[in-house]
Every structure is written in C-alpha cells, then in structure tokens.
C-alpha cells in the first residue's frame, strides 16, 4: 500500500520542482518558487522514510544533523561575492554524494551480479560514478580558482589535450569492461581514481575568466549524475530532478558561451585567457583624464546615465557607494540605468545579485540586448570595474582575441567615463581602444574611493 502511495508523493514532488523553476521567471514570484521547491523536497524525504523499510537510523539521523548544522551557517554567513565559490562547492557535494551512492550500490549488488546488476543498471552506475567523481574534483578545482587559493591563469603543458584524452579513453574502456563483467571488482577503484584525476586535469587549463561557463557545465554534470542514479535505482523522481538540473546547466552554459563568443570545445580545450606576451603594445597613445569634481559636474548636468558595472566593482566593495550615487542622481532627475553584460561577475547572473544586495531596484537593471540600443541617446556611460565587455575592438578588430564577443556599446554614448586604477590592461591582458577615444574621460583610482569623492562633490553643488 505505502509502496504505491510513495509513488504518488513522488509525482507531486516532481510537479512542485517544475513549478518551482517556472516561478523563477520573475522576481515577484521567485520566493513562491523557492517555497514550492522546499515543500517538494520535504514531501519526497518524508515519503521515502514512510514507504521504505529503513534501518540504521543512527547513521541517517546523524548525517541529517551534521548536514543541517553545516548548511544553515553556509546559507546565512556566505557573502554575496562568494556565492560562486559556494555554488562550486555544492556541485562538488552533490556530485560526491552521487558517486559514493553509486560506489556503494556497486559493491552491495556485485555479489549477486547476475540477478541484481543487469546491463543497464551497470551502465547507469558507471555513468553515475564517472560523472560524480570527475565533477567532484573538477568543482573543487573551480572553487579553488574562484577563492583564489589556486592560480587563476590556465595551467598548460605540452600534449595536454592528448594526455587528457588518453586518460579519459582508459577510464571509458574500464567502464565498458565493468559493464560487461561486473565481477572484475578490482577494476572499480582504478576506474574511480581515473575519474577523480580526470576532473582535476579538465579544469586546470581553464582560466579564471571562463569560470562562469565552467560552473554552468559542472552544474549540468552534477544534475546528470543524479539522473543516472535515478536510472540505477529505478526512481523516476531522481530522473526528473536530475534532468531539470542538467538542462538548467546546459542552458546557462550556452548563454555564457554566446556571451563570450566561444564554443564549448574552445572553453574546455582552448586554454583561453593565456596572457600572450604582446611586446608590441608599449606604444603610448594620448588619453584624457579627469578628477572627481569634473566627473560630478558632468553627471549632474546629464539627462541620462547608464552605468556599466563589472566584477572589479565588487572587488572594490563599491556596490553601496554606487547605490548612494544612484540615489543622489535619481533625486536630481537624472535617469540612471544599469547595463549588465551576461558575464559581468563570476557566475551567470552574479552582478544582478550584487547590485540587488545594495538595494538597487531590479527594474533599473537591464540586460545587454535590451539596453544596447539606448547608448546612442544616453549622455554619460559610466564604466566601473568592467573592461573586456566594453571593448569596441570586439566589433571591429579581427586580430583581437575577443573579436566577435558581444559587448556593451558604451562607446556610442555622448560621453564615456571609466573608473580604473591605471592604464594597465585588465585580466585578459587585452588593450581597450575605448580609453583613447576623444569622448572618453579616464577617472583614475579605486572604484569605491572615487565614487565616494564624486558623491562628496554632489551635495555641495546643490546647496550652492
């Protein structure tokens, strides 16, 4: 009886998960979406406990207790700038769990391989453990790069792709052998070890600038490993949830690739972001710079301002100062909007969260495609902590490494102001012609300090 009941509970859970993602289509319904997800999860867990003959309660309760005790502080203490690291960590946790469950299933069923390990279950188990283990170490590497405990630049060596491919081929061959002859248990640890090593090797040649894409791809893998677990256990709820997670990761990584004009293959095997030592770039071209006073008067007399923020803004912790500037300008009747490039920040959508945290209303945040047509009518484009995503060379210069990447058309505004520490080229080491335009004013300094200076200039003018 309960065995049938739990299937109905799982159906309700699956529906709630789909609704949960559907309600993420707008900020107004998003909290309802989170709630639906939570209810779906609770139902599924409760149903599982009721329907199945569960033993070893001490182990299970202890694990739930530790997991909850770890999860609550992570959720509340984690600063918003560290959300990409947390996301990478949770991909690692989810993938590890799938891999370990797959491993346990294999060893538990292996003595009765003939009856309990039909071919397709074994296929599901090896897919689950392969994806699980490689996503586990891959996500840990991504987390290390995001946390900057590992070098951000790509680590490359000769024949890297050949080495990776050979390793993967061996792992795949072992997997096939295990599927055909599940009693070859001694192969399993080798197979698992190769998957773990492969995860590391897959991520080390990928540069810090590509982390948004990498996180999205790992998200997809983690989902697919949960999905494979569903196949191994014959549990359709796991298949549904895993497929939802997998397709979400897939869509996000496609968006990220498009935003950088790259292909999957290029991100994974291209070792992009390698700082090519370009000796020829020492030529000094003239540029104009300005102080906070001048910047303030230009902003104040503008009718419309579009701010183009990049991750540098978050590094300088300037979000709250930007919000003050936004308030002051809006109060003076200046129309202030924010132009968000899809790869601004360190994971998909990261910049929106950082600005929302500083209480900037979301109806002032505009996606690249929606706002690019507005730059020609805009008086001032203010670039803060962004570089490559504003580089006009991406449109015109076929020799530029970022040629073809969609950019924010800040150079079409009447005046461009760029807050930047110095004229040094940014992270990817690519020179930006924007800085040498006649209408561009360079504002040198730390983003937070400079915006504070501008704010100080503004009230003085109103009382005068």
């Amino acid at each position: 009886m309960t065995a049938h009941l739990v299937q109905y509970i799982y159906i309700v859970s699956a529906a709630l998960f789909i609704l949960s993602l559907k309600w993420m289509n707008h900020p107004a319904s998003s909290r309802r979406g989170v709630f639906a997800g939570e209810v779906g999860m609770l139902l599924a867990i409760a149903g599982t406990f009721l329907a199945f003959d569960v033993h070893n309660w001490t182990w299970i309760v202890a694990a739930f207790f530790i997991g909850t005790a770890a999860g609550i502080p992570i959720a509340y203490i984690m600063p918003m700038t560290a959300v990409p690291q947390r996301t990478a960590m949770s991909h690692a946790c989810g993938a590890l769990a799938a891999a370990l469950v797959g491993t346990a299933e294999f060893y538990q069923r292996q003595p009765h391989a003939a009856t309990e390990l039909p071919g397709f279950v074994m296929v599901a188990l090896v897919v689950e453990t392969l994806l699980g283990f490689l996503t586990f170490t891959g996500s840990l590497m991504a987390m290390g790069k995001l946390q900057e405990v590992l070098p951000q630049r790509p680590i490359t060596y000769r024949n890297q792709n050949a080495v990776n491919f050979t390793l993967f081929a061996i792992a795949a061959a072992l997997a096939v052998r295990l599927v055909l002859v599940p009693t070859d248990t001694f192969l399993f640890p080798i197979f698992a070890g190769l998957a773990l090593v492969f995860g590391v090797l897959l991520i080390i040649p990928i540069g810090g600038a590509d982390m948004p894409t990498v996180i999205a791809i790992l998200n997809s893998y983690a989902g697919l490993s949960a999905c494979a677990m569903g196949f191994a256990l014959g549990n359709n709820l796991l298949v549904v949830a895993g497929a939802l997670d997998g397709s979400s990761g897939l869509i996000l990584s496609i968006i990220m690739c498009k935003a950088m004009n790259r292909s999957f293959a290029n991100v994974l095997f291209g070792a992009f972001g390698q700082v090519q030592a370009k000796a020829g770039h020492a030529e000094q071209r003239p540029y104009r710079s300005a102080g906070p006073e001048e910047a303030a008067s230009i902003l104040e007399s503008a009718g419309s301002v579009i701010i183009a923020p990049g991750y540098g803004l978050a590094v300088a912790q300037a979000q709250h100062k930007i919000r003050e500037l936004y308030d002051l300008l809006m109060r003076r009747g200046v129309d202030v909007k924010f132009a968000i490039h899809p790869v601004a920040g360190r994971m998909p959508g990261h910049m929106n969260v950082l600005l929302a945290e500083a209480d900037i209303p979301y109806d002032r945040l505009f996606e690249m495609d929606d706002i690019n047509s507005e730059f020609p009518q805009c008086d001032v484009a203010l670039v803060i902590g962004a570089n490559d995503v504003t580089n006009p060379a991406a449109r015109s210069d076929k020799t530029s490494p970022i040629y073809g990447m969609p950019i924010l058309d800040v150079d079409k505004a009447r005046t461009v102001m760029v807050i930047k520490r110095s004229m040094n080229p940014g992270f990817a080491g690519i020179d930006n012609p924007l800085y040498y335009l006649d209408k561009t004013l360079m504002l040198f300094g730390d983003a937070k300090a400079f915006v504070s200076e501008i704010i100080k200039e503004l009230p003085a003018r109103v009382s005068a």
């Binding site: 998960f17 993602l21 993420m24 289509n25 900020p27 909290r31 989170v34 997800g37 999860m41 003959d53 033993h55 070893n56 182990w59 299970i60 694990a63 997991g67 909850t68 770890a70 999860g71 992570i74 959720a75 509340y76 918003m80 959300v83 949770s90 989810g94 590890l96 769990a97 370990l100 469950v101 346990a104 299933e105 060893y107 538990q108 397709f120 998200n219 989902g223 949960a226 999905c227 196949f231 796991l238 298949v239 549904v240 497929a243 939802l244 997670d245 397709s247 869509i251 968006i255 994971m347 998909p348 959508g349 929106n352 969260v353 929302a356 209303p361 979301y362 109806d363 002032r364 945040l365």
Partner: protein, 104 residues
C-alpha cells in the same frame, strides 16, 4: 510492459524538454539564484543515499559511504534553499515605481 529502463528514458526525455522550456523563461536577473535552486533540487539524490544507508543488509562500506553522501546532500538541501531565498528576497522594485510607471 515497458521495462524500468524504457520508462526511465521516457521520463528523462520529457523532463529534459520541460526543463529546457521552463529554464529558458527564467529571468536573467535570477540566473544565480536559479543555479542554487536547481542545485538544491538535484539534492533529491538524498533519496538514493537514504535507501543505500538504510538497507536492512547494508554493509559497513555502504553505511559509511551512504553517511558521507547524506551529509553532503543535506548540506546542499539546507544551504541551497536558504541561500536562494536570501538572494531572491534582495530583489526589490523601486519604491513608487508602480505609481509612476504603471504596468512596468
């Protein structure tokens, strides 16, 4: 009767299409919370972890691996849902925006 595998593939195919359609419509504003939400949802693998740990004939290996797995996914469930909620709460409309630009 279709086998477990065939049913599973059927469900997988449908869920993938539903997922692609639903996720495509998610506001790009919310892509970061979306990722933490799907992460929490895929932690439904806790069901598999419970079944392997709680099996009557579970070996010591199963119990230990299952224990680690449950701990890891419960951390994902708890932190995933809570941090998603914390993030989506931050997205606010401009005060009075409704009055000035009705319908926007």
């Amino acid at each position: 009767m279709p086998s477990n595998l065939e049913l599973g593939l059927f469900v997988f195919m449908l869920a993938t299409f539903v997922g692609l359609e639903v996720i495509r419509k998610v506001s790009p504003l919310l892509h970061t919370p979306l990722m933490s939400l799907t992460n929490a949802i895929s932690a439904i693998s806790v069901v598999g972890a419970i079944l392997i740990t709680g099996a009557a004939h579970a070996t010591m290996l199963s119990k230990v691996l299952g224990f680690i797995a449950i701990t890891a996914v419960v951390t994902n469930i708890v932190s995933g849902f809570l941090i998603t909620d914390r993030m989506v709460k931050m997205f606010k409309k401009r005060p009075g925006a409704g009055a000035r630009e009705a319908g926007k």
